[in-house]
Amino acid sequence: MRFRRWLALRAFHVPVLAGLALALPAATVAETGKLPLTGGVSSISGAAGGGLTPWAVIGTNATEGEIGVSAFATRLRTRDYGLTSSGLALGLYDRVELSVARQDFGAAPAAALNAVAPFGVEPDLHLKMDIIGAKVRLLGDAVLDSDSPMPQIAVGVEHKRLHPASAGGVVQFLGADTEGTDVYISATKLLLDRNLLVHATLRSTNANQNGLLGFGANAPGRSSRSLQPEFSVAYLLRRDLAIGAEWRFKPDNLRALGRAAGLGDALREDDWRDVFLVWAPSKHLSVTLAYVDLGRVVPGVTANRRQRGAYVSLQAAY
């Protein structure tokens, strides 16, 4: 399929392009005029928002009448896993956002699954996932409509394709698809006089661990979509500095399947949460540090440990 090949090619180039865009001098791009931080940062899926959830804001530094680009690189390290994500976003007229991202999920503990069945998982397993996203702002202005409770509202779609590498057998065993599409609606509001940003997203998804374990599951696991809410709050300490927290609810599609296979809660999935600090040393650069709790991720191979750890993300936006 042509689209898939294109997607794969794009995704392959994402880290290179991200590097290029980070190095792009401001002079080569027309001046763009969002207020600092009001385009959010890049979430791990590539869409503008917080770290784990997309916001209703349109990414990049471009406001009405302008086109902007942004690039990001994120590294998240928990006790047993590591996630690297990088990508690009294009902001069109503060109305439409297009994004691509590639995730690399280091999941070495998954090799222990070979004890369950001869899955052939290699010791240094790296799952990869490509994400292509689009978001459209429907109405509202999250920042300037400060005399109204009306938030900025956007709808978005994230199409994801998992490359399971040597974990292909595991994904097959789960009965999960390697492609899936999330759709979401987001509402974001900056309570300007209080420097407080509040945000909620409602996502329709059948992804397991955001898609890193595929989409859906064999019965008695759940293959169908479910609606999952996601919330963020952020408080602006200065106009270039914010702290906040996020909570992303997730489905638990695989748990019942794991139980039926005699694995207990080995495949259970938890919500993702984090607390974060964002600093924008310039209009074109932001640094996000977070402490992330991914809950249990295939706890059967990680001694039931919660996956907590540090998250760092860099974003350049024009």
């Binding site: 001046e31 763009t32 005029g33 969002k34 207020l35 600092p36 406001t63 009405e64 009448g65 302008e66 503060d94 202005d141 920042v143 300037l144 409509d145 400060s146 005399d147 109204s148 300007l192 006089d193 209080r194 420097n195 602006l236 300490l237 200065r238 106009r239």
Partner: protein, 207 residues
């Protein structure tokens, strides 16, 4: 509430927006065109037409339809500054340094706006001192200070200028910098911005 006033005023109708103010250069004295340009620049932040030094605007000598419209715009009494949307935020007037502090902030704001590469050209026809005084009165009234301000509504005042959202944002940044320089705490800065931000609906003419 500024916008409610605007929508209920007789100047809701949008007029065509050529880049230069109409009659630019037509009048030798700083009568109508100067007042309009000044007010437009002023109302870039908020309503205002009485920027002409110390005088109520007077109708133009030769009233064409456009001039008449401008005259009405300039003469429309402003109640827009008297009652902020959510009431006057307690303590904000004092936090800005009362009228003297507000005057210093507006002094810095206008100076930096005139110098700014992005938005400086918008103020080409504006007299800086009159703009400073008018802005000071406006913010003073908005924040509950004992000031008087009379001016036109924002939509009419801006109709002749091309102001994009990025221009509006640029002015917000300059205002923040001016308040920084005057030692206004960030939390108080945001309370003032929350009063001014909704004006984007009338100030931004290029959508």
């Amino acid at each position: 509430m500024p916008t409610r006033f605007l929508f209920s005023s007789s100047f809701c109708s949008a007029r065509p927006a050529p880049f230069r103010p109409r009659h630019s250069g037509a009048a030798p004295a700083r009568s109508r065109p100067a007042a309009m340009a000044s007010s437009a620049a002023l109302a870039f932040l908020m309503a205002g037409a009485a920027v002409q030094a110390g005088a109520q605007p007077v109708p133009p000598a030769q009233p064409g339809p456009a001039a008449a419209a401008q005259a009405r715009a300039a003469l429309a009494p402003s109640v827009s500054a008297s009652v902020p949307a959510g009431g006057i935020p307690a303590g904000l007037y004092d936090a800005l340094g009362r009228k003297e502090g507000i005057a210093r902030i507006m002094d810095r704001l206008v100076d930096s706006a005139f110098r700014d590469a992005r938005i400086g050209p918008i103020f080409k026809e504006t007299k800086p001192q009159a703009l400073k005084e008018s802005l000071t009165d406006q913010v003073c009234v908005l924040t509950g200070g004992p000031c008087v301000y009379e001016g036109a509504d924002m939509r009419a005042a801006h109709a002749d200028l091309q102001i994009r959202k990025s221009d509006f944002n640029a002015l917000v940044e300059l205002l923040q910098a001016a308040m920084d320089a005057e030692g206004v705490p960030f939390t108080q800065q945001s309370r003032l911005l929350a009063l001014l931000a909704p004006m984007h609906r009338d100030v931004i003419t290029v959508r």
